[in-house]
Structures are given as structure tokens and as C-alpha cells.
Amino acid sequence: MTRHLLTVHDLRVAFATEAGPARAVDGVSFTMNAGETVGLVGESGCGKSLTALSLLRLVPDGGRIAPGSRITFEEQDVLAMPERTLRALRGHRLSMIFQEPMTALNPVLTVGDQVAEVVRVHTTASAGEAWTRAVDMLAQVGIPDPAARARQYPHELSGGMRQRVMIAMALILEPALVIADEPTTALDVTIQAQILELLRDLRDRTGMALLLITHDLGVVAEMASRVLVMYAGEVVEEAPVALLFDAPGHPYTEGLLAAVPTLDSTRERLHTIPGTVPAATAWPAGCRFRDRCAHAWERCTTEPPALAQLGPAHRVRCHLVQEPERRRA
């Protein structure tokens, strides 16, 4: 058996709320190999960002990772390691690119300072060496005139440039795994393509693994080799990217794919999935998607479906796997 770069086992994160515990991430398990790009897809509030933050043990105040959850990264138990070891990991072996660079960059520090700080924190490099490396990295992420740009503040850069700075910060120490949480959502469409191109380029050059969190299936199709679909705090489907697009197993995935607008579409209106995600404080018994599902029958109201094997690398959390005849045309 090959050793995985990252193993997440039965990850559960709950928030204490007035309506009781909100189980925002509820039993998520997956693995990632070195150099692999995995897409983590789902609509807002499905728990994908929280899953990502949990990998760095950065759950927001009020949230708790339940005992029994296990995260193993490079053979180390992330949830059990002391704070010191964890800090050495963050930004160095395992780093994160945030969605909104305007808020994730500190407005009172120059971008060069912020990139150099990662080097200063994790290596013995002097301030001068760190600065040189930072300028170098800014050049690598395609920032023109990096020496001058490094002395500027975030508000002096465009959105695309800021996201390049975020990428420089995350990648300067060549981590084994980079988590990118909706890295292009806050950007113009033309800039989005450039940033994705840059990420792909850097990934291929450094051999890093990339966990790409997005709600944009187009991004996934372009970047990822494998996809995890999350719904209501659970992984509902896991498949190689081609398989997911050709033969989705879960009705939710089907709905997501149908909702993607295409140029040759003759439909006048976009497809939507009816209904909304149930509240995390009160997941329904049985299948969490059943109220929005066209195929649901009695079994779905009582018995929560398990993640069932549909093919060699294809797993689906749906009773249709065992009873495909229930599928309605």
C-alpha cells in the first residue's frame, strides 16, 4: 500500500450554537497523494472551507474538531501534534491560499514584507536574504518589476496582483500540499484564467499537491485529476474527474453538472436544484439530500446512505448504488 501524503479520517467539526451543536463537517474521509490535484466541490455552507481550515487546525472560535477525527499529513498526526510542531508545518509543508487577497493580506505591511515573513519564520535566513527570496518569488508568480512592487502595500496592487502575492506567500517554501480556497472567486474572469494557469504551472514545476476548493466545476475540470463532492457536511461523491463529468453517480452531482451553463445550450433558463440545504443544527434522518432529490423513496427517509463503491475509484453516498432500478428517467 502506498503511503498517502494526506489522510483525513472521519473528520467532524461542530459549532456550539443556541439551536444546539451545528455539525458543519460530519464524517469526512479522503486521502491525497503527493503531487495530486484534488478538487473539493460543493455549494456555500457545505463545509468545504471548514474542512480545509481543519487540515491546518485553524477552526474558527466556537468550533471544535471532534475526538475520533484523524488527520495524518506526511506521517504526522496533525490533530495531536504540539502547537510548535504545527506552526513549523503551517506555511512550510502545508500552506493555504485564501479566497479574498484584499482581506487576507495585511493592509499595513508591504507585500514584500509579508512574503519575506514566511521565510523569516521558517528558516534561519537573514532579513536581507528573506527579502531577496521574496522578490525572486514575486517574479516567479509573474509580478512585473518585483523589486519595486515588493515595497508597495496591498491596496496599491490590483486584485489579480494581490492574488499572485498570496500565491507567492503560500508557495515560497515549496510546500508538499497547498490548499487553495476558491482562489479565483474574487477575481475578474480574464484574471481567473491567468491565476489558474499560474497555479498549474507552479504545481507542475514544484510537484506540490493541490487541494482546490471551489464551487466552479469548470475550474475543477481544468485543474483536478480527482474530485470530491461535498453536500451538507458530508462527502457525497468521489471520482476521477473524467468519470465524474461523464457518469456522475449522485443526484446532487448530476444537479451541479446540469446547472453549469454551456454555450451550445438550447435551454432558456439555467437548471437549478430545487430547495435549499438543511440547517447544520438539524440534519434530517436518512439521506440529507432527499428533499431535493427527484429519485427519493421511503428508504431515503429512514436510512442514511453510506459511501458505496460504484467503480474502482468511484464512491457515491446514495441508495441508488444498490437499487439502480429506482432511478427515474
Binding site: R87, R90, G91, M96, M102, L109, E117, V118, H155
Partner: protein, 276 residues
């Protein structure tokens, strides 16, 4: 990043403060008479302003101009040092409480409420009265140690809000230590608050020190401070308006200038400049 109106509003108070500070620093070179020199002939005691003594003389014949300028050194030094002390104390206390949060924060803030419930002037009067004649160093300490509560509350509020910002999370995600995040990523955001409150505190402290010295509990005679000169004008022996007006004008000028400067700084430093 200050606009032109900001600069205009800053100019006048800043100019008057710079002028006054320069006069204070340069006092020994501006006036030739030492502030405590008592003329031996005694004829020029309690003289109204004249060419020889532009601000007049007091009952001992000391030159009031010289005393006002030398007094400025004492009054300004006491105010600046005690505000430096109170601002750093308050900033440290507030930043600590706000950053740690939770129960520690609650306890820190309740303690502050207790401290705030005792009137500052009362504390000052009691301590000064018990002590007798306060040396100037102790006066600075006393003013500094009783003046940091408001700063602490403001800084604590700022830090509470800042720790929720995403760049703090991002710094954590790159492995930066908590103490470094607080000092390098959060504290710079608090600077405007500190500058504004410190400026306003200088105004307040100048007036407070003058009051204490006037009552004989602050700077001790024969040393000149604006408060002690005012007190000299209050001794029986006829109306000597020049002993009240000149130090009074000095106090009012500094207090008004500091308040105006504080307000202008608050305007200039308020975070509206970020146009993304």
C-alpha cells in the same frame, strides 16, 4: 494619505504647539533673566508689563516672561512623560486583554471598571496630600499610573475587532507565532488610536498638572510651572492680572491646540483612505 483639508486642519494647532515647544526649549537663550532671580534692590517687585519685563514681575520681583517660558519646560515635560507612560501602559494592558480574550479579558475589564469608578482627581489629591511635597518624578508617575484606563479600553476594543480579521488567520496559516502576529500584524493598526488619544491626553494632563500645582500639590515653589505662577498671582496684595493672564493664555493655548490637533488627527487617520 492626508487630504488637503486634513493638512489645513492640522497646520494651525501643530504650528502653535511647535512654536510653544521651541520657546520652552529655547527659554534660557530667549530671556536673559533666570526664572528664580530675585533682584536685590526690590524696587521692581509686582511691576505691570513694561519694556524691561514684557510680562511684568511677581511679588518677589521675578521676571514673569522668564518664569512662563521656563515653566513651560516643566509643564510640558511632565505632561509628555506621564502621557508616554500612561499610553504605553494602557496599550499593553488593552492589547493583552483583547488578544487573549475569554475569561482573562473579562477579568481585566472588570478590574478596569473598578479603577475607572474612582475619580482620578480624588486619587491625585489624596496621594499628593499624603505625600506632602511631591518630587516632579513622582508627579509624572502618579499622573501616568492614573491616566491609562481609557487608552486600555480603546486599544482592547480595537484588538478584539482586529483579531477576527482574515489577515490574522492568514498569518496563523503561515506559521507565525501569536506574539509576533500581535506585535507585527495587529499593533500597527492601533497606532492611529494611540496617537489621537495621546494627543488629547496631553491637553488633559497639562490642565490637571496646572490645577495640582495651583493647589500647591504638584510642582513645588520656587520652581516655575504654569500652575505655580497662577498660584503666585493669587496671593493677597492687589490685582496683578499679568500673573494670571500670561500663564493662563499659555495653558489655554496648549489645551486648545492639543484638542484641535487630536480631532484633526482622528479625521486624518480614520480608515477611509483604502480605495480598492
Amino acid at each position: 494619505m492626508t487630504s488637503r483639508t486634513d493638512r489645513r486642519r492640522l497646520a494651525l494647532p501643530l504650528a502653535s504647539l511647535v512654536l510653544l515647544s521651541a520657546a520652552a526649549v529655547g527659554a534660557p537663550w530667549i530671556v536673559s533673566v533666570p526664572p528664580n532671580a530675585i533682584p536685590t534692590d526690590g524696587i521692581i517687585a509686582s511691576m505691570p508689563p513694561s519694556l524691561a519685563h514684557p510680562f511684568g514681575t511677581d511679588s518677589l520681583g521675578r521676571d514673569v516672561l522668564s518664569r512662563v517660558l521656563h515653566g513651560a519646560r516643566i509643564s510640558l515635560a511632565i505632561a509628555l512623560l506621564s502621557v508616554a507612560l500612561s499610553t504605553s501602559l494602557g496599550a499593553a494592558y488593552g492589547a493583552f486583554a483583547g488578544w487573549i480574550g475569554g475569561r482573562v479579558d473579562t477579568v481585566c475589564m472588570r478590574l478596569l471598571d473598578v479603577a475607572l469608578s474612582v475619580p482620578r482627581l480624588l486619587v491625585l489629591l489624596v496621594v499628593a496630600a499624603l505625600w506632602g511635597a511631591l518630587p516632579n518624578g513622582s508627579l509624572v508617575l502618579l499622573l501616568g499610573l492614573t491616566g491609562w484606563y481609557d487608552v486600555a479600553r480603546l486599544v482592547r476594543g480595537d484588538v478584539r475587532a482586529l483579531r477576527e480579521r482574515e489577515f490574522v488567520l492568514a498569518a496563523r496559516a503561515t506559521g507565525v507565532r501569536e506574539a509576533r502576529i500581535l506585535l507585527r500584524h495587529v499593533v500597527p493598526h492601533v497606532w492611529p488610536t494611540l496617537v489621537v488619544t495621546a494627543t488629547l491626553a496631553v491637553a488633559h494632563t497639562i490642565a490637571l498638572e496646572a490645577g495640582l500645582s495651583f493647589l500647591g500639590l504638584g510642582v513645588q515653589p520656587p520652581q516655575a510651572s504654569w500652575g505655580t505662577i497662577l498660584a503666585d498671582g493669587f496671593t493677597p496684595g492687589g490685582a496683578r492680572w499679568w500673573l494670571t493672564v500670561f500663564p493662563g493664555v499659555a495653558i489655554v493655548t496648549v489645551v486648545l491646540a492639543c484638542n484641535a490637533l487630536g480631532d484633526a488627527l482622528r479625521e486624518a487617520l480614520s480608515p477611509r483612505q483604502v480605495a480598492a
